[in-house]
Each structure stands twice: as C-alpha cells, then as structure tokens.
Symmetry: C2
Subunit: 208 residues, 2 copies
C-alpha cells in the first residue's frame, strides 16, 4: 500500500479530472474556509457522499489540490533552471520572469491557488506549507544567485540570504500584480520587456 488515497486514485480518469477541475475552480475562487464542498460536488456532477468517500475531509481534498498546484510550479521552476544553467545572470532573470508569466497564462487558476497560499493566512497547515515554499524558493533562487556570485556577475561577498529575499520579493510581487491584471483583462499596462530590463538593472546596478 503506497497511497492512502487509493479510493480516489482508482477512479476512472475522466471522473478524477472532473473532480479535480471543480475543486481547482472552487479553491481558486474562494479561500479555504469559504470554499464549499457543495459547490464542488455540483460542479463535478457527483454526489456529496461520493466526494467524502474519496476524500475523508475538506482538508484532505485541499491537500490533494495544493500539492498538485505546487507540483506544477516546481516543474516549471526546475525546467527554467535547467534550461538556463549556462546563461549569464541577466538572461537568466529574464527567462525566469518569462516563464513565470507563461505559467500564469497557462494555469491561471493554479496561480491563484498558489498566491492565495502564499499571501493569505487561512489554509490548513499554512505554516508548514509556507516554510516548505520558502525552502523551495531559497534553493531555487539561491542557486541562481550563487552561480552569479561565482561568475563575479554579482558581488561575491553578498549576503546571499538577503539577495534571495529581495529577488523573491520583487519577482513574486511582479507576478502577483501581473496575474491580477490578467484576471481583470488589462495586462497591457505591463510592457514585459521594460519590466524585465528594470528588474535586472535594479539587481545588477541599483537605481543610482
């Protein structure tokens, strides 16, 4: 026995995806407490009893969904890290922003769940999840910054932790605002190239 969720995983794939889809929509639209299991079952076209048979509690369903969202985020990060490993810091940063934007466009609902998780305070196990995410981001951006330090593209005596923090702050905030702009239909206010250039300039040369 590997998984504790075999009930759900042994379902026909079509049914699984109906349920996952409905759950993603609901958890993207409302925060954890406000999201309704009733809405999920109605949108998925199954009965309430069935859903609670597959996932014993709301919290376990949420677990399944956020892990799924996080998995997608991670695979994107891994992809862009590996694909840019030989590029200079500036180009790397640019690609990171690019693929963040791409992720948001391709998975707007997952992005919403991700941002809700980071910025809101009411998901179950929030502390554990957020610290996990922090580690992920630390590892990911830390590696990129360390590479740049090793290549003397960034000051080798940099406080690496701080640098990661700054980069993370700006990137996350940019992507969050971009995501919000998209979901309100006015993403044109963002000239992507200009922003990428601005961000890389900030980190390499500062504002003076």
């Amino acid at each position: 026995m590997i998984s504790l969720n075999n009930k759900f995983e042994q379902l026909p794939e079509e049914k699984q995806s109906r349920i996952v889809n409905a759950s993603i929509s609901e958890f993207a639209e409302k925060d954890y407490e406000t999201a309704s299991m009733n809405t999920v079952v109605n949108q998925a076209g199954i009965s309430k009893g069935s859903l609670f048979n597959y996932f014993k509690t709301k919290s376990l369903l949420y677990d399944h969904i956020y892990k799924l969202a996080l998995g997608e985020v991670k695979s994107y990060l891994r992809k862009v890290r590996d694909e840019t490993v030989d590029l200079p810091f500036e180009k790397r940063l640019s690609k990171i922003v690019d693929s963040g934007v791409q992720f948001i466009i391709e998975h707007p609902r997952l992005a919403k769940i991700y941002f809700r998780l980071i910025y809101s305070a009411d998901s179950p196990n929030r502390k554990k999840i957020v610290s996990e995410l922090q580690k992920l981001s630390n590892d990911y951006l830390g590696e990129i910054i360390q590479d740049a330090m090793d290549q003397s593209e960034l000051d080798p005596n940099l406080n690496q932790g701080q640098a990661v923090f700054f980069l993370d702050s700006v990137l996350n905030r940019f992507l969050k605002d971009y995501h919000e702009a998209i979901s309100q239909g006015d993403a044109n206010q963002f000239n992507r190239d200009e922003w990428v250039k601005g961000i890389t300039t900030l980190f390499t040369k500062g504002l003076s």
Copy 2:
C-alpha cells in the same frame, strides 16, 4: 448632517472603544467572511441587536474598522515623510523601515488587518481599497524617490513608477515577514540594522 453613522458616533466613548476593540481583534484574527458578528458582540459586551443598530451590516462595520486602520497607517507615513524631508535617501529609507517596524510593534492588530487587506482577496470593495492604497504608496514613495532623483542620489532618468514598485515590493514584504515573525515570537532572526543596510545598498548600488 455630516456622518451617516451618527448612531454609533453618538455613543459614549467607552462603549465605542469596546466595540472598536472587539472588532479589530476579530477582523485581525479572521478574514472578512470568517469573522463573526456574534464574536464581536460577545467580546464587546453588547447585544446583537445593538451592534446591528449602530452598523446596519457587517460590511459597514468592516468599513469603519479598515478606515480606522488605514488612517493610522497614513498618519505614520505622513509623520515619517515630514520628519525626514531633509535627510539623504539612505537615511530616509532607514527611517521608513524603522517607523514601519515601530508601527507593527505598536499596532500589531491593525498591521494584521492592513496586510490581510493588501494580500488577501476577500474583503468587500477590495478592488477600490487596493487601488486607493496603491495611490497612497505611489504618492508617498514617489515623492521620496523623486527627491532623491532631484538630488542626484538616484539616477535622474529613472523610470519612477518602476522604482516605486520595487521599493514598495521589498518594503512591504520585509514588514510582512517581520510582522509574522513577531506574532510567532521569533523576531530575533531579523537583525534590523543589517536589513536596513541591505535594502539601501540594493537600491543605491545594486548587488554587483
């Protein structure tokens, strides 16, 4: 007739502050949907009917509270802006961080409401409020950055909007993390001076 809330404002001050206190606690602890009017009336020691007599709906009570929180934030910003108007950019930044930290320590619950408002998505009129906040931040940080540009402490050809965005991202994120660290009792992980120095260095000289 100036105010529409005269019912509440004509109450004895002691009673007003009991109600405000209870409301602040509740809206700080839970997000808008989850916060309970029952909890508020119990903690304030008044009856439910009375509260709904003073504030016709939950949303109107929330309005009153967030405006109060915002007012405090604004007065802090105004104060630090005026007190630092003659200082160089670096010193100014440092004072801004200082007074942000001070605000968080003095008004932890208001800070929580403020951060919830910015980062969460479920307060009523959120769009309007957030854009109001953005304007506030733009005016405030914009002025400080413009001053630094005028004094040639920052590049006079800077994209001012971007610069404000970056500064806002880093400052807000720092204060948010600091606030969370405090409310979990381990704020010692933040060496304030080191962070202030790091932030000012980032913005003036970059990381290379």
